[in-house]
Symmetry: C2
Subunit: 163 residues, 2 copies
DNA sequence: TATTGTTATACTCTATAACTATA
DNA sequence: TATAGTTATAGAGTATAACAATA
């Protein structure tokens, strides 16, 4: 930051901008976190989103994707099941496995919750000047792409048979 | 998005885009949340950031800004104080009040943590195509502005005497 | 009497360790 | 013997209620 003007290498400059952008996103995340509805943990919401996106998954996979311990995911799924948002199905190929699937009620819940979370943020976006909103709209694909990259990193693959 | 070309009314179109952008940010937030270091709660980090940004504050204010109950903030501050990251000072004007101030160790911690969080995100940004990174850089002021708006909403004002 | 903060207590979330069932 | 999942138990975070000190 301080020595940006002294550096002839443009690559370093780009790296600095990436770091700046990343810090901006990080700080926004930490700040906005508190403004979201808190009727369900973010881990549960992210788990429901994963199930909705990629179909039934086993507990072990869900734990790895969310970065929680396997017993924690068992508890979380048990609670979601009691709420009616997911169901456990048996895997015909391996009777040790529980395949977890989102229910229609779970899908409805996640959509409702997503709308509520988005509205809390939209209320802030509304107050930005038009030019800034335009830059956000232009950056939306990049933000979407970041999320996809994050998901790819954590998700070892689709629920098909693996080696 | 799909029907941008068919709509004569720009106002409705803008509203839709704002909602889309807000949902994108919300979903990114939920996703990235799990990738961050977890050595300290986001509430504690946000509290340290507030103290660093606006100077010593009373417990009641900090609780309101973070949207937690006052006794929860007492506990949180007690833990931060034990870690050496904040200190309680007495308010000369009102002896009921504890003014909480960040220590040098606390400032160092929050900077280190911010860098770690930013790096986790930068690792994803690095993999975006250059054009998308450019849109992110262009949107950084807007993202920063969203955070400021959120802070203004929650923070009733600086630590000066209020009516 | 109202306000600031603390202490007591309970609930949720998540961790590790020990266990059961199946491969 | 290794793997998928569950149960038992503990610690962190946050809530409400009751309390103490000060205004």
């Amino acid at each position: 930051m301080l020595n940006r003007m002294n550096r002839p290498a443009p690559a370093a400059d780009v790296a600095t901008n990436q770091q700046d952008v990343a810090e901006t996103i990080y700080r926004l995340l930490v700040t906005l976190f508190r403004g979201l509805p808190r009727d369900m943990s973010l881990t549960s919401i992210a788990t429901l989103s994963t199930l909705e996106r990629s179909g039934p998954r086993r507990i072990t996979d869900l734990a790895a994707i969310q970065g929680v311990a396997q017993p924690s995911m068992t508890t979380l799924i048990t609670n979601l099941e009691r709420a009616g948002y997911v169901e456990r199905r048996s895997d015909p190929d391996d009777r040790r496995v529980s395949l977890v699937a989102v229910t229609p009620a779970g899908a409805t819940y996640i959509h409702t919750r997503r709308r509520a979370g988005a509205e809390a943020i939209a209320e802030l976006v509304e107050h930005l000047p038009d030019e800034e909103i335009a830059t956000l709209t232009a950056a939306a694909p990049a933000l979407h792409h970041i999320r996809e990259l994050h998901n790819q990193r954590r998700d070892p693959g689709p629920p098909v048979k693996r080696s």
